[in-house]
């Protein structure tokens, strides 16, 4: 009910081309206000971002359609999303063609499998319009225990319980890294394989030397 901000202008709402009337995506657009507007794209999601919607079912019947639409964008917009609905079973050939298209015509293909998912993509693009990409730059903050467990369990055979027993047996990660194999082997649950794996991984040089 309470929309983040009343739709006052194009700045805070998604612009929708009248062509999209009847598309079930619109009923799923709940988080942002949207308004019809005369635009060459199907959706405008920000100053430099737009989206064209394509159903693969439709694409198979009218292969020319999407090329005309792309041409009509006239090179505008920095990020041009081709929001593609995978609504047919044998999508392989169509997707192969779209991959080639994306290369030639500078569009970015995003696939969705339902109207709700497609609508969510539109909402996300709008809501991240001014966001920083910190969430994908690997700077998550976590507690020590979580990080420690994550660190120790990188080798696949070592599990969470092993991580806890290891660090509690040696007191700190530094001591655990420096431990001799025979010292680790006496810890419950640390069989030969795990011991070997751990000792190899902490001693192995980062770079392979010739």
């Amino acid at each position: 009910q309470a929309l983040p901000s009343r739709a006052t202008g194009s700045g805070s709402s998604i612009l929708v081309s009248p062509r999209q009337k009847g598309n079930p995506i619109l009923t799923n657009l709940r988080s942002f206000a949207w308004e019809y507007s005369d635009i060459p794209a199907d959706y405008v999601l920000g100053q430099t971002t737009c989206a064209l919607f394509l159903s693969l079912k439709y694409h198979r019947l009218h292969p020319e359609y999407i090329y005309n639409r792309i041409r009509n964008l006239q090179g505008k917009y920095n990020l041009r999303i081709l929001l593609t609905m995978v609504d047919i079973g044998n999508h392989e050939d169509s997707l192969k063609e779209l991959a080639k298209t994306s290369l030639v015509n500078n569009v970015t293909v995003i696939l969705s499998w339902s109207a709700a998912e497609a609508a969510r993509y539109l909402e996300l693009y709008k809501s991240y319009e001014h966001a920083n990409p910190t969430a994908i730059r690997g700077v998550e903050s976590k507690g020590y225990a979580e990080k420690m467990v994550e660190f120790v369990t990188v080798p696949r055979s070592i599990n969470k319980t092993d991580a806890v027993t290891l660090v509690s047996a040696f007191g700190s990660l530094r001591a655990a890294v420096n431990a001799r194999p025979e010292e680790i082997a006496v810890i419950g649950g640390w069989g030969e394989k795990k011991v070997r794996k751990w000792c190899t991984v902490v001693n192995e040089p980062f770079r392979v030397r010739k």
Partner: protein, 942 residues
């Protein structure tokens, strides 16, 4: 060769007609040999290899051997060469790392001999013609059961067969199951192996049976040991937890085929893997909870095993750590915790395990703590049986002191792992030490006088020592886990999270829990208590009671006296696999170790073998050993817990192998038909694809017709995936290179980074993808991210966390964890990055072909140079993957400074020991501080 070898087989290698016949067959034709485990597969392989080795002037490749097999075969070949004095034999050369430079490898190959090369390296060497396929005399394949159409090994064989039709090809397997699951699996496998003949040698085959049973059999004494009552209770409770967990899985994944999931399958050695495999196609879409439960199943399976192998104290300690590690994460609700922890059965497990160690009533007021806690120290039932057996052997030795045969008179005890070895060693060493008896000489043990007080062998001494260590440990561990998981506990007890709507209701249930607790065990004070939300929590025994217990088990005089002599330092001798010590004779305790066990039998020449745990292939090895040495007598004691998973597992493994062989033989008899229909009946489209392409290339017409075949530069690290193989099948020329930027270079402009869904998730998490996209954009006009789904997995992304609500109603942390949200961020950050969606590697190959048309061919030399700084060599860029993945987790390490770390520092150990001052020039002060703090942080002093 065969005649010569049979003559030189001076050490019992050719005692059996079945071995002779297989050998004969292998010399006559190319074939696949499937043989029962334990019947001497490696011996067969080494004999074969030696025959070629001795002839000299050969270039033979051994494909698919693991490290230990390389060791085994290498040693055996050297031995053969020494015995037969073959002047031209060169033995086995192993190429298993990138360390050997290209030049060295090339030189080795030209010299010839027998090579075992890691598949990833071999495929590159074949593609670059460092090793010319036409020069190969023949290929020997181990673990043929693992070779599926898209595997590296199949790729290697394809390259080999394309260019070399004359060389031989022999494949081996001692695992019949994969050949007997699925639709006509044998013929599929045969196609992958480019073989037409198969030779099957199960244990029940007539010739094998005659060889092993015709002569004197080994004397086998089977000892069925009942489990103790509490062990039975625990096993039962674990099974109940497994059952409930599987039930939950079924509930949560109704769309899946799971009829055959039941507790019986829990008896399989790796039932959690079976479950995992079933869920694999949708793994990236299953809920967090499902993953959690699958994880739980592994934990529970481990418990079933440790219950039988660990002593009561160690088992209880193990459970303590499991409980601590499963402490709920901060802010969690009942919804995202392991369901089994909520069961009464879980309570039974933890409670019974504890009561095997110590027991007692909690003092009512805290005053009368006299009989607060008493040690119980239940012994493993097999120990007493083992002691009996040892005594029987002693008697036997007494009456027949001098062995009349070639055996050493040694006692060989076989068990599952080194942990068990240590336990048994300590038990045997201390079983005659009694804490309350007067000190007596060990020699006196011989004469057991019935009038004197009884001195049954017991583990009391060992168990008391273990309990003392346990209590010390427990005290410290409580502090550690508190330090580690404080945030957790706070968040839990605070229950401030508005989402944990279940908290009030479970609080209402608190009395019920309390009642259950009392009813359940009767010692309120020591039982694990339940958290507000009903899961089990580790409980602390009151310090006073522990102190009482501690004083109760203080070393007695006798124990103290004994201590220095016998308490073995568990650390000593760890280097050796087995420990030797003097009893009456020599006793060797050894862990089952696959094919290595053959060596043990030959070296130890035991007169008595005690199989402390059942192992089907070891039984065969004994049979082989016994039948090949007419002059040695062996008596085998075979111990197992009745009604245990151990027994079930043994029986079912024997049964399943037999079933597999039966199926295999059936398919073999009808195979001529399937082989001719060829492309029909191939269910996997990828295989069908490869198959049709093969014939095309074999014809040679198409390749010759095209002026310049399409070329793709592929990063050498990509050879772990099946895509290079499929591209090769699509008649593209694969140029393996060491790339710094991108995985596949299709043209001077197109650079592709390939990500499977799992890679995608993890590389978003640690920021790797962001950096990769950045550097691709820097160097290429058309950088592309390829999102590749698995052929057998569903072609959709993980569902959004919550599609029904509106975006604003969800907390921000929740949305940004979605994979899709991250994709949105990525495309916003890099509008020029294109995304390719592919439903399978096979589909990717087609897309690549389409993308390449009308583009110029890529230049491998330029591709290698991209991203390198001045003066850097491509070879410097070979990194070990895992240490780097671990580096990325460390707080303070970022996508930018990780490069410096791997260039400036040596290894993780180096980083862990570095001071802030040492880290400063590499990563800067702040990051250095964070890294140093992460490693130095002590979990004890807090």
């Amino acid at each position: 060769y065969s005649r010569k070898l049979i003559a030189t087989g001076s050490f019992n290698l050719w005692g059996f007609t079945y071995q002779q016949q297989i050998f004969q067959e292998l010399h006559e034709k190319d074939e696949l040999v499937v043989i029962s485990r334990g019947l001497g597969l490696l011996r067969l392989v080494t004999n074969l290899l030696h025959s070629y080795d001795a002839a000299g002037n050969n270039l033979i490749l051994l494909v698919g051997a693991d490290e230990r097999e390389n060791g085994w075969i290498g040693e055996a070949l050297a031995e053969h060469a020494a015995i037969s004095m073959a002047p031209r034999a060169r033995g086995l050369s192993v190429v298993n790392t990138d360390v050997m430079s290209v030049g060295t490898r090339e030189k080795m190959y030209t010299q010839g001999g027998i090579f075992s090369v890691t598949s990833r390296i071999l495929v590159v060497d074949l593609l670059t013609s460092l090793l010319n396929p036409e020069r190969i005399t023949g290929v020997v394949v181990l673990h043929a059961d693992k070779i599926v159409a898209t595997s590296l090994e199949a790729f290697i064989l394809r390259i080999y067969r394309q260019k070399n039709k004359a060389g031989f090809l022999k494949a081996f397997s001692d695992n019949p199951q994969p050949f007997a699951t699925g639709f006509s699996p044998l013929s599929t496998m045969m196609r992958n192996l480019f073989l037409r003949n198969v030779s099957v040698w199960p244990r029940f085959q007539m010739q094998v049976a005659q060889s092993l049973e015709g002569k004197k059999k080994a004397e086998v004494i089977e000892l069925e040991v009942p489990m103790s009552e509490s062990m039975r209770h625990i096993q039962h409770a674990i099974m109940e937890c497994v059952e409930v967990s599987i039930g939950e899985l079924k509930k949560g994944n109704s769309g899946l085929e799971m009829e055959d999931w039941n507790v019986d399958s829990a008896l399989h050695k790796q039932f959690d893997m079976v479950v995992r495999r079933q869920l694999d196609p949708v793994w990236h879409r299953v809920s967090w909870k499902t993953k959690q439960i699958v994880n739980d199943l592994s934990v529970l399976r481990g418990m079933l095993h440790t219950l039988l192998t660990y002593d009561a104290v160690s088992f209880n300690r193990h459970l303590d750590t499991i409980l601590a590690a499963h402490a709920p994460p901060p802010g969690s609700t009942r919804q995202n915790q392991s369901p089994w922890l909520f069961l009464d059965a879980a309570h039974t497990i933890f409670d019974t395990a504890k009561r095997r160690v110590y027991t007692g009533k909690a003092p009512q007021s805290g005053a009368e703590s006299l009989d607060a806690l008493r040690p119980v120290l239940e012994e493993q039932p097999k120990w007493a049986v083992l002691a009996d057996v040892m005594e029987e052997i002693d008697r036997d030795l007494y009456f027949n002191p001098v062995p009349r045969d070639d055996s050493n008179g040694t006692i060989l005890i076989m068990c599952t792992d080194t942990e068990q070895c240590r336990q048994l060693r300590e038990y045997l060493q201390t079983m005659h030490v009694h804490s309350h008896a007067e000190a007596r000489d060990q020699d006196e043990q011989e004469e057991v006088d019935e009038h004197e007080e009884e001195h049954e062998p017991s583990a009391e001494f060992m168990m008391r020592r273990k309990l003392r260590n346990y209590l010390k440990w427990k005290n410290q561990f409580a502090k550690i886990s508190a330090a580690l998981f404080t945030e957790t506990q706070k968040a839990l007890s605070g229950a401030t999270n508005s989402k944990s709507a279940s908290t009030p209701s479970s609080r209402g249930k608190a009395p019920a829990n309390k009642r259950r607790r009392v009813r359940g065990c009767g010692n309120t004070g020591t039982a694990p208590s339940r958290a507000t939300n009903g899961s089990l929590q580790a409980s602390e025994d009151k310090p006073l009671e522990v102190a009482a217990l501690m004083s109760e088990i203080q070393p007695t005089e006798v124990e103290a006296a004994q201590k220095e002599e016998v308490v073995a330092d568990p650390l000593e001798d760890m280097e050796d696999y087995y420990q030797l010590y003097d009893m009456q004779d020599l006793v060797v305790i050894h862990a089952y170790d696959g094919d290595m066990d053959e060596h043990i039998l030959e070296e130890v020449k035991p007169r008595y073998i005690i199989m402390y745990e059942p192992d089907a292939s070891f039984v065969r090895r004994i049979e082989v050993y016994r039948s090949s040495h007419n002059d040695r007598n062996v008596r085998v004691y075979f111990l197992y817990y009745s009604g245990s998973v151990e027994e079930q597992r043994y029986l079912s493994s024997v049964r399943r192998e037999k079933d597999a062989f039966t199926k295999l033989i059936k398919e073999k008899s009808s195979m001529a038909l399937t082989m001719t229909t060829d492309a029909q009946g191939i269910e996997d489209p990828q295989e069908a694809f490869l198959r049709t392409i093969n014939t095309r290339i074999a014809g040679g017409g198409r390749l010759a017709a095209t002026a310049q075949p399409p070329r793709v530069v592929v990063d050498v690290r990509e050879f772990q995936s099946s895509l290079p193989s499929l591209l090769h099948g699509r008649s593209m020329v694969i140029v393996p290179c060491m790339l710094t930027v991108g995985d596949y270079i299709l043209s001077p402009n197109i650079c592709i980074e390939r990500k499977s869904i799992n890679d995608l998730i993890s590389s978003f998490k640690d920021g790797r993808l962001y950096n990769q996209a950045e550097s691709m954009l820097q160097h290429y006009k058309s950088p592309m991210l390829l999102i590749e789904f698995d052929q057998n997995k569903s072609f959709t992304l993980e569902p959004f966390a919550d599609l029904s609500g509106s975006l604003s109603s969800m907390s921000s942390s929740n949305t940004s964890s979605d994979l899709q949200s991250k994709l949105v961020l990525l495309t916003l950050a890099f509008p020029k990055l294109r995304i390719i969606w592919s439903s399978s590697p096979f589909q990717t190959a087609e897309i690549f072909e389409a993308l390449k048309t009308q583009e110029p061919e890529p230049d491998p030399i330029a591709a290698v140079r991209v991203g390198l700084e001045a003066g850097q060599q491509a070879e410097d860029q070979t990194f070990n993957r895992q240490p780097q993945d671990m580096l990325r987790v460390i707080p303070g390490v970022t996508g930018n400074n990780i490069k410096n770390i791997v260039l400036e520092m040596d290894s993780l150990k180096d980083v862990a020991n570095a001071s802030v001052e040492e880290l400063d020039p590499v990563v800067g002060k702040e990051a250095g501080r964070q890294i140093s703090r992460f490693f130095k942080k002590s979990v004890i002093e807090e």
